[in-house]
């Protein structure tokens, strides 16, 4: 699928606007699309996934999914660790979702309001509206959460991971 120039420019704008309001240290999002050897996702699709991740765990005054590069982690996992049939299901689910967005909103996901986005995602998670899309969404959401909760930001600022935890305490009062 050829990259839609206007979408690409728009993505660039959104990303750099995002970058401007965020401290540089947590912004490790790459702006250009990556290639995944087992998963032919287009740049547009990657941009959509990034937007979706952002709706799943939004950026507020603290980093969200976007700042930890969650969609790229999710793509890497699906590409490297999922069976071919699951990769295919993921991809067709993603495409099904993109189609739903177009059909229902007539505009790109990124341009939807927060409420519209949430409605789209809720619908995607519902098996009644398509098994593949539901598979895609639950997989992507789970990987987004994993990316976030295993990110450097999360494990140094929220739930601090200690490489050397020190003494084991066998009984601590709640």
């Amino acid at each position: 699928m050829p990259i839609n120039r206007r979408t690409a420019i728009r993505q660039l704008f959104i990303i750099s606007a995002g970058a401007a309001i965020l401290p540089a240290c947590v912004n490790n999002t790459k702006t250009s699309a990556q290639t995944f050897s087992n998963l032919p996702v287009t740049a547009d699709e990657q941009a959509l996934l990034e937007e979706m991740a952002s709706s799943i765990i939004p950026t507020t005054d603290t980093p969200g999914a976007k700042e930890v590069g969650a969609h790229l982690f999710a793509l890497r996992m699906v590409n490297d660790c999922y069976k071919q049939q699951d990769r295919e299901k993921f991809l067709s689910g993603l495409r099904g979702f993109a189609g739903q967005v177009k059909q229902e909103q007539g505009k790109p996901f990124a341009e939807c309001t927060a409420a519209e986005k949430e409605a789209l995602l809720r619908k995607a998670g519902d098996k009644k509206n398509g098994e593949e899309t539901a598979y895609f969404f639950s997989t992507f959401k789970r990987l987004t959460i994993q990316a976030y909760t295993s990110s450097e930001y999360y494990l140094t600022k929220v739930d601090v991971y200690k490489l050397v935890p020190g003494k084991f305490i066998s009984s601590v009062k709640v």
Binding site: S55, I56, I57, P58, T60, T62, G64, R76, M77, D80, C81, Y82, K83, A114, E118, L121, R122, I145, Q146, Y148, T149, S150, S151, E152, Y154, L155, V158, D159, Y161, L163, V164, P165, G166, K167, F168, I169, S170, S171, V172, K173, V174
Partner: protein, 570 residues
């Protein structure tokens, strides 16, 4: 001019050790300390303590797949991928199926570590002594052959290796699991202590104890001399420990042997065969293929210790043929490669504990609780022979509601997790009966990339194992139910033999050269300067994790071998 004699002289040592894992590391240390110039031949690459632990200080987010092994690797290596420790942080210490093929006549998961240190880098560090209830098993119950040693023969050597390796444990005073030289144990948590008390009160002869493990909970002078420091409870041991907190050849025995100045450690050296000198009626040395160049070189020594890990030791002896020994070195009896056994790890049980809501634990702990064998200990009481030990651990996770989206989900993720209930679980470690039909042998035509014949493995469970799985499920379910645990689930993984990574036998010890390969000193009956002190020597398997016993047998055999050399008998 090239002088073949001089060159041979340079390739001559007092002793050769084949393999640098847990047992070979011990053989090397003991031989070097006793002043023997020792060549340690290791087929894998060098792994130096600290220097060659590339993942040891990596943070979770630094692993591209957060620990998961990519599909391309698991698909290419289905066997090793079944090992729980084969993860992104330690996969570089495991043998890949593809590189080192073998033949499974029946399913057998052969888990190997080919490098300096062998599997000592990867092991789970559980170290329980055997007792006479184990050594007397074959004689009492009429299987295999009688062990030529008893507990009293090995007890001082258990103490000897425990002091040096550093074993944490409690003096539990149990006749079926003798106490050792212990560093302080780590505490059990409240639920584990509850179960311990419950079992102690309600069952005669059943006990729950802290699983003894090779961790320096309180390093002694001897450990500081090894440059090892206190275990910091990282529980990332399989990556190699920057503190030397657990026992491995790399952190402990090999550097100690090197310090004597008597050790030559030669990695990338695949020992093909042990050379038998028909005139001297002894082994004269070994033939080695360089793992990289494939060049073949011979090395000579007065005494040879075989520590390639159980099945590779079988392979090596089977491949060491001569006029005198057409069926493998020392194999007059024909038992070489037979009576191989392992541990039955198929059964598990898990449950919930609904009490102790007001407490949890903090930090990590490199061991948990252990139930020594309680079946058929004092007398035969079930319709199967022998019995099983079990692990026991309790833990409490935290939960977050991840059903939401957007701000609601983020709030959930950013707040402290809600403590979940306690989960408890046990796994089975069953003794299997060595049978003549459980064998390893050589493929007549297929060879690996280094010219070694492929090993054919023909090992299976039997009816005794099936009964034991059932009994584990029944007995554990009863104990869990009576203890008030709920939501009890039992499973039978049906995993293939081998995945227990406790394969043993094939070169068994025994009194009689007609029915065994090794005498009570781990010395080949028929070739007096060759000793086998890894798992291949085991006459039966008991239920304990075996490596501590290999260490003790290795140290004991070196002591004997060197004394015999001094007397001129070897």
């Amino acid at each position: 001019m090239f002088n073949i004699n001089d060159s041979a002289k340079e390739r001559t040592y007092d002793a050769i050790v084949i393999g640098s894992g847990i047992s070979g590391g011990w053989a090397a240390k003991e031989l070097c300390e006793k002043g023997l110039k020792t060549l340690v031949l290791e087929r894998g690459r060098n792994v130096q303590h600290l220097k060659d632990y590339p993942t040891t200080n990596m943070m979770p987010w630094e692993f591209p797949h957060r620990g998961q092994v990519p599909l391309a690797v698991t698909e290419e290596n289905p066997v090793v991928s079944r090992c729980y420790a084969f993860r992104e942080d330690a996969m570089h210490f495991f043998v890949k199926d593809k590189e080192h093929p073998y033949e499974q006549e029946k399913p057998f998961d052969w888990i190997r570590g080919y490098q300096v240190g062998g599997k000592s880098l990867l092991w789970a560090r559980q170290t329980q002594r055997w007792s006479d209830f184990d050594f007397e098993g074959p004689a009492r119950d009429g299987f295999a052959v009688d062990w030529p040693i008893r507990y009293k023969d090995i007890a001082p050597w258990y103490s000897y290796v425990e002091k040096f390796a550093g074993i944490a444990g409690n003096k539990d005073g149990l006749p079926n699991l003798p106490d050792g030289e212990f560093l302080p144990a780590l505490p059990l948590n409240d639920v584990e202590n509850y179960f311990k008390d419950f079992v102690g009160k309600n069952y005669k002869d059943r006990h729950v104890i802290f699983g003894r493990c090779a961790h320096l909970t309180e390093p002694q002078e001897i450990h500081l001399q090894q440059n090892r420091a206190q275990c910091q409870n990282r529980v990332l041991c399989q990556r190699g420990c920057p503190f030397g907190g657990y026992f491995s050849s790399n952190a402990s025995t090999l550097p100690w042997a090197a310090k004597t100045g008597n050790m030559t450690l030669q990695p990338d050296s695949v020992v093909q065969e042990i050379i038998f000198d028909e005139k001297l009626n002894k082994a004269s040395g070994v033939r080695v293929t360089d793992a990289n160049t494939k060049a073949v070189t011979e090395y000579y020594a007065k005494v040879i210790f075989v520590n390639a890990a159980a099945l590779n030791t079988n392979l090596l002896l089977l491949n060491s043929t001569s006029q005198r020994f057409p069926n493998g070195l020392g194999n007059d009896s024909g038992v070489l490669g037979k009576y191989v056994a392992f541990h039955n790890y198929r059964a598990r049980i898990s449950a919930a504990c609904n009490d102790f809501k007001d407490v949890f634990t903090e930090g990590r702990r490199p061991s948990s609780a252990y139930l020594p064998r309680f079946r058929n200990v004092y007398k035969q009481e079930t319709d199967f022979l022998r019995g099983y030990a079990a692990g026991f651990s309790a833990g409490r996770g935290s939960r977050r509601d991840t059903s939401g989206l957007g701000q609601g989900l983020k709030d959930q993720l950013l707040k402290k997790g809600e403590l979940g209930g306690w989960h408890v679980g046990s796994h089975m470690m069953g003794e299997t009966i060595p049978k003549e039909s459980n064998t390893v042998s050589l493929d007549g035509s297929k060879k690996d990339a280094w010219g070694m014949p492929l090993l054919k493995v023909n090992i299976a469970y039997d009816d005794n194992d099936e009964k034991m799985v059932k009994d584990f499920h029944e007995q554990m379910t009863e104990m869990y139910t009576k203890a008030g645990f709920t939501d009890i689930k039992v499973t039978d993984s049906k995993q293939a033999p081998g995945l227990d990574i406790h394969e043993m036998g094939g070169v068994r010890m025994g009194h009689d050269p007609k029915t065994s390969m090794l005498n009570k000193w781990n010395q080949l009956h028929a070739c007096s300067n060759v000793f086998v002190t890894d798992g291949a020597c085991m006459t039966s398997t008991a239920t304990q994790n075996p490596s501590l016993t290999y260490m003790a047998l290795a140290a004991r055999a070196v002591d004997y071998a060197v004394a015999e050399m001094k007397k001129g008998n070897i």
